[in-house]
Symmetry: C2
Subunit: 151 residues, 2 copies
DNA sequence: ATTATTTATCTTAGTGACTAAGATAGTTAT
DNA sequence: ATAACTATCTTAGTCACTAAGATAAATAAT
């Protein structure tokens, strides 16, 4: 019964998305972040230093909101402001990777371990299937988001 | 190379969680919802009518915040307040399922179709593997969340 | 060179959703 | 009846956000 499979996977996906959101919110709260800061800190961590304007574009926040975001991070000494040498208007936000990792790593520790264990419990062929499913899903969601944002 | 698999799946998971969040935020904005309202409306839709207090417990919001949430939904005629017959202090939030679906269904239409297509592209055995991966992941994340919330 | 335009970030004023604490109204227990 | 409790609402204050404009630096135009 194919319809049944589709329904079950859809339900699982909803649960997955919701639970993931909950977990990340919990982790953020535990780390002492309010609201969406955790998400944007992850951004900085992954992409490395960038200017305030770039972060504004990437996040969709106004430059004013970015100023506040950097202020909060800077107060916690998780990032530093560094004026551009060639263009002194630019403000590079330089994440203190070690400090951020020190703060977040313990909170992700268990999740990482258990997830790794789960992955290791599958064979190579099985992992290919899971990877294929996940990556195509990501593509689908990106496409939907792009379409909605352009409206 | 098992380590490599684990790393790749972890990266895919991060991308999945992030993209999913982005998509749901886009859908919310398109539907005219600010912030987290969309999430809680989904809650009401899935669980059906409940009292303000129950929603407060489930969401973790204070009762004051729930009052505002219901006000906003009520103004858009997506839910109705209904005083309990046995206990007149209680306020049941009754979602207008048809109206909510009418608002949200078109926005999820493409996503649902493409996801169904993706699911249908796998064999029965492959789907079992994906289901197993997703459901165990959900369990892991629930456990982590519960542990953090109790601290 | 001086001036105008553009660019990058910051500042200010106002908004909206949130919390904490207390008010209101209805219920249960003594 | 009165007290204690419960469910929701109200109020005051906070915080992150937007929109619009200020500041400062870079680039272009005359």
């Amino acid at each position: 019964m194919e319809e049944e499979h589709i329904r079950r996977i859809r339900k699982l996906n909803q649960a997955y998305a919701y639970t993931s959101l909950q977990m990340h919110e919990s982790i953020a709260r535990t780390a002492g972040f309010s609201g969406t800061d955790h998400k944007y800190l992850g951004f900085l961590l992954e992409r490395g230093q960038m200017t305030a304007g770039e972060l504004s574009n990437l996040t969709g926040l106004t430059t004013g909101a970015i100023t506040g975001l950097i202020d909060r991070f800077e107060k916690k000494k998780l990032v530093k402001r560094q004026h551009g040498e060639d263009d002194r208007r630019k403000v590079f936000i330089v994440p203190d990777t070690d400090k951020i990792m020190e703060l977040l790593a313990p909170l992700y520790h268990d999740f990482r371990n258990k997830s790794a264990e789960l992955t290791a419990s599958f064979s190579n062929d099985e992992i290919k299937i899971i990877e294929s499913y996940l990556s195509t899903s990501v593509e689908i969601m990106k496409e939907i988001t792009a379409r909605l944002s352009s409206k």
